[in-house]
């Protein structure tokens, strides 16, 4: 049973949380580092698939393209728990990839988050690059570049916009709790990340650690957004 903490409990919890952050508490540090490692790797993996896919969808014209775009946009809203469930089914002992023994490892968490954000990266990249393609198409065709050659061109010329797309993906990955909880299992010292730790510590009533993690998570999200804004400014100055 968890009782609501009184106001002065909150105050002391807040103080202790600040202390944990300021002292560089080892448990806190490990959780933060694992979170960053999992989410950054997931973004990198998702980018390898999602960005070229988005670029290809921006330039390709084929029957049923509209349906693919709608499906991709819908997948942006894929609930993390569903992504987690799918990967759980794949990796569980009786699943097709069960023999790999990946369930309840950081690798499983990376795969689940990559599955969650690849459609986001692809859909956002498609939007950004399709606008660019409308401008470039005739000129590139005049140069003799077909759609296949246009894909790397668009990815490079859209680099600033795509960096903000990657940051959006990272924000989503680092803030989600459902997918990593299901496939990671929130094992202390092994698969416990910021969001799962916050969920657990809050339900246990250990507010200082939960609050400290929440502060770090907020700081990371803020930094990411500041970076995104900075990149947009640089892009506006550099590329026009």
């Amino acid at each position: 049973m968890v009782s609501l903490p009184a106001m002065n409990d909150l105050h002391s919890a807040f103080g202790q949380a600040l202390g944990l952050v300021a002292d560089g508490d080892a448990t806190l540090g490990n959780i933060v580092l694992l979170s960053l490692r999992v989410s950054l790797t997931a973004v990198a993996l998702a980018a390898l698939v999602g960005l070229p896919l988005g670029a290809l969808l921006a330039v390709a014209r084929f029957p049923g393209r509209g349906g693919v775009v709608v499906a991709l946009n819908a997948l942006m809203g894929l609930p993390p728990v569903v992504a987690g469930l799918l990967i759980y089914l794949l990796l569980s002992r009786s699943g097709p990839l069960g023999p790999l023994g990946l369930l309840f490892t950081p690798t499983a968490m990376v795969i689940a988050q990559a599955l969650l954000i690849a459609p986001i990266l692809a859909a956002l990249a498609r939007q950004v690059l399709e606008a660019m393609w409308e401008e470039y198409a005739e000129q590139l065709r005049s140069f003799g570049a077909g759609p296949w050659r246009a894909v790397p061109t668009l990815l490079w010329d859209g680099r600033f916009a795509l960096l903000t797309v990657l940051l959006a993906g990272f924000g989503r990955a680092s803030a989600e709790v459902g997918a990593v909880m299901i496939v990671g299992g929130n094992i202390e010292g092994f698969t416990r990340v910021m969001t799962t730790a916050i969920a657990l510590e809050t339900s246990k009533g250990d507010l200082p650690l939960a609050l400290a993690l929440g502060m770090v998570l907020m700081a990371i999200v803020l930094t990411v957004n500041a970076l995104a804004q900075g990149l947009r400014d640089i892009a506006a100055r550099q590329a026009g």
Binding site: G158, A239, G240
Partner: protein
């Protein structure tokens, strides 16, 4: 001194183009020979831009066909096009020049040689490392022209390249065009600016409402137009 023709003369027979059931060009028969610039003139909406795009194969004709009678196996490699609004890549001036040269399969040394030559041609050498899209409108169009010229096309299509430029920038572009024509590049240029057509034209193709009403040497066309529409256009009357 001029290299023997690789793709000219260009013949269009029964050329027509319709979009959504609306005929934009009808029954165009036209032969374009090597030599001084061919100016495609006519009021807005006459179909000048569409004609250039059909000749350059950016659009597929609805009826008729375009043939290149020269010996070259791949006519596409001997043409280039400059658009009304320059389409510059989000890269440096130099990288913009290199891009189509790399696509054409030229090695890096040859790319650099041609890029330097093209920059000198349009007087943009000091801006080589600047982001291309940060140049002024006139500089951007000169860069687009330099980029096309660096490909050393036998035929260069230009779709109202000066339509959004001020007189000084227009003059700079025209000087470059004269230089290109003098070294043997065949210019095929659309304009609705009669004074510009008089300055540049070797022969004139007059379009009106999607039909080619006249194709004649410039001197004869301007002195004694054969059709009432052309005469009215030359007097500055509003045609539609």
């Amino acid at each position: 001194m001029r290299a023997p023709e690789a793709i000219l003369p260009l013949r269009a027979e029964g050329l027509g183009f319709s979009a959504d059931g609306v005929a934009i060009l009808k029954g165009i028969g036209l032969t374009i020979e090597a030599g001084r610039p061919t100016l495609v003139i006519g009021p807005n909406g006459a179909g000048k831009s569409v004609l250039l795009r059909l000749l350059h194969r950016l659009l597929p004709p609805t009826t008729g066909h375009v043939t290149w009678d020269g010996p070259a196996a791949d006519p596409r490699r001997h043409q280039a096009m400059v658009f009304q609004r320059p389409v510059l890549l989000r890269r440096s001036v130099l990288a913009n020049l290199r891009y189509p040269l790399a696509l054409a399969g030229l090695d890096r040394a040859e790319q650099d040689r041609r890029a330097a030559e093209a920059l000198a041609l349009v007087g943009l050498a000091p801006l080589a490392d600047r982001p291309a899209r940060k140049l002024s409108g006139g500089e951007q169009q000169r860069l687009a022209l330099a980029r096309a010229a660096a490909l050393r096309p036998e035929v260069l299509f230009l779709d109202e390249p000066c339509a959004s430029l001020d007189p000084a920038a227009t003059r700079a572009v025209e000087e470059t065009l004269q230089a290109l024509a003098a070294r043997g590049t065949k210019l095929v240029m659309a304009t609705h600016d009669l004074a510009q057509a008089r300055r540049l034209a070797g022969d004139v193709a007059f379009l009106h409402r999607g039909r080619l009403l006249e194709h004649a040497p410039a001197a004869r066309f301007f002195a004694a137009p054969a059709t009432a529409e052309a005469a009215a256009f030359l007097r500055g009357e509003l045609l539609w």
